[in-house]
Amino acid sequence: MSTAELRRLSYVSLFWLAARESLRVGRLWSQTVVAPVVSSLLFVIVFGLSLSGRIRQVSGFEYQVFILPGLVAMGMLTAAYSNNSSSIFQARNDRYIDDILAAPMRAWQVDIGLTIGGVLRALAIGIVTTAIGAPLLGVPIEHPVLLVFTALCAILLFASLGLIVGIYAQTWDHNAFVQNLVIQPLAFLGGVFYSVEILPSPWRELTHVNPLFYIVDAIRYGFLGTSDVAPGLAIAVTAVLAGALFWWSVWLFRSGHKLKP
C-alpha cells in the first residue's frame, strides 16, 4: 500500500469514527440537544425576564440580552464536555474502544474522531439556543466571525477536556465531579449572569484567574461587541487553552496512557 493510499485509508477511518460519534448524539437527541436548549431558555425566562424589571441595564444592555451569550456559552461548553467524557468512558468501560484503537488510524485522528461528537452536539445547542433566543430578546451578533472562531475554540477546549477526564476517570462519579463541582461553578462565577465590573475587590481580581471568565467574555464580545477585558486577550486565552488541552488529549492517545495497559 502506498503512502497516499494509507493516508486515504486513515481519513476514511476517521470519517467513520466521526460518523459513529454523530450517530450517538443523534440517537440520544432528546438528552443531548433538546434538554440543554430548554435549560438555557429556562434560565433566560427565570433570571432574565423576572429580574429584568429590577436590573435595568448591564454594560449598556437589557439584562436578558446581557445574559443570553453567557447562557449560550455555558450550554455549549457543558455539552461538549459531558458528551465526550461519557462517550470515551463508556467505550473504555465496555472495552469497545479497542476496536477503534486497533483500527488503521493515527492517534490524532482517533482524538479528532471522538472529539467531533461533542463539537456537533455543542454547535447544535449553541445554534438552536441562539436561533430561538436572539430574535426573541433582540440580541445582536456584532462580530460573527470572531464569535464563530471563539465558540469553536471554546468547544474544542471542553471537548478535549471531556476526553481527558473520560480517559483518567475510574468511575462515572469522576466525570460528574468535574462537571458539577468544577465547570458549573466556574461558569456561574465567570460572569454568565453579571459583569465583573460590578464586583468589589478582591472578587473582581480573582475572577481574572477563572478561565471560564475569558471564554464567556469572548463569546459575549462576539454577540454584543462589549467585554470586561480586552477582547484580544479573552480570545487569546481561549485559543491557547484549547490548543493546550487538545495537545494533551492527543498525547494520551499517542502514548496509550490509561487507554492501553
Binding site: 494509507l6 485509508l9 440517537r27 465496555d94 488503521p104 492501553k260
Partner: protein, 247 residues
C-alpha cells in the same frame, strides 16, 4: 516469502513490574494455521494485543506481512489494516445494532460504504445473525455476541486473523460451526493465529503449535512433531510435559 507475523525480542513489562513477555521471538508463516497454547497468565493475550496495538510494548519489534506494527506512524496503519482480531472478552459497541457494528467496523478499516454494507449483510448470513440484524448488541445472547465478534473480525477480509479463545463459553454445536467456518477461511489462504484452552481444538485445527509459558515460547512444532519430541501420545501429555519443563 514474507512471514505473516514476525516477532523479535518482544518484551512487555506492565506498570506493576510483571513481565508478561520476555524477549519473545516468534515467526508465523504466511497461510499457516497456528495455535498458541499456554496457561492463564502465560502471555497469550498480551502477545495478541501487542500485535494489534492494544498494549504498550516495552521493547522489541512486530512485523505483520513485513509492516512494522509497533508505534503510531503510517506504516503501522498498513499492519493494522490487514489484521482481524476476535478478542477473548466481548467488546461490542452498545449503541450499535448488529448491522451497524459490522458496517462501522468496515468503515474503520477503510472500506467504502457500499462494500462495507454488502460485506455486513454477507457476514450476517454466514454467521446466522439475520433475525437479530437490527438488534442493539447488549440485547444479544452470549452465543450471538460471540458470532458477531467473529463476523466483525473477518468483515474487512484481513490476511491475518487472530482468534483469542473464540470458542470459550460457547455450546458444542456452535463450536463445531465456528470450526467449520475457520477451516474454510484458512483454505482460502488466510493466516490464522488461534489461542485456546481446548487442546482438542488446537489438535483438530492447527498445523503448527507454540506452547508459551512465562512470556517465552517453550516449544514450537507441528502436533505430530511435538508428540514425537516429548514422547507423548496426546497433545495433552505434551502440554503437561512442556509446561512442567520450563521454569
Amino acid at each position: 516469502m514474507v512471514p505473516a507475523l514476525e516477532i523479535r525480542e518482544l518484551t512487555k513489562r506492565y506498570d506493576d513490574g510483571t513481565v508478561a513477555l520476555d524477549a519473545l521471538d516468534l515467526t508465523i508463516p504466511d497461510g499457516a494455521f497456528f495455535g498458541l497454547l499456554g496457561p492463564n497468565g502465560a502471555g497469550k493475550t498480551t502477545l495478541i494485543n501487542s500485535t494489534t496495538g492494544l498494549v504498550r510494548v516495552t521493547s522489541g519489534s512486530i512485523r505483520v506481512f513485513g509492516h512494522e506494527a509497533v508505534g503510531d506512524h503510517l506504516e503501522t496503519l498498513a499492519a493494522r489494516s490487514i489484521v482481524g482480531l476476535a478478542p477473548q472478552d466481548v467488546n461490542l459497541d452498545r449503541f450499535l445494532t448488529v448491522y451497524e457494528s459490522l458496517l462501522y467496523h468496515g468503515g474503520y478499516y477503510g472500506m467504502p460504504r457500499q462494500e462495507a454494507a454488502r460485506r455486513a449483510e454477507e457476514m450476517i448470513d454466514v454467521f446466522d445473525l439475520r433475525a437479530k440484524r437490527d438488534t442493539r448488541t447488549p440485547r444479544l445472547s452470549g452465543g450471538m455476541k460471540r458470532r458477531l465478534l467473529l463476523a466483525r473480525a473477518l468483515l474487512h477480509e484481513p490476511r491475518l486473523v487472530i482468534l483469542d479463545e473464540p470458542t470459550a463459553g460457547v455450546d458444542y454445536e456452535l463450536r463445531l460451526e465456528l470450526w467449520r467456518y475457520i477451516r474454510r477461511l484458512h483454505e482460502r489462504g488466510t493466516t490464522i493465529l488461534l489461542t485456546t484452552h481446548y487442546l482438542e481444538e488446537a489438535e483438530a485445527l492447527c498445523e503448527q503449535i507454540a506452547l508459551i509459558r512465562g512470556g517465552r515460547i517453550a516449544a514450537l512444532d507441528t502436533p505430530d512433531g511435538l508428540r514425537l519430541r516429548y514422547g507423548a501420545e496426546s497433545l495433552g501429555e505434551v502440554y503437561v510435559k512442556a509446561m512442567g519443563a520450563v521454569t
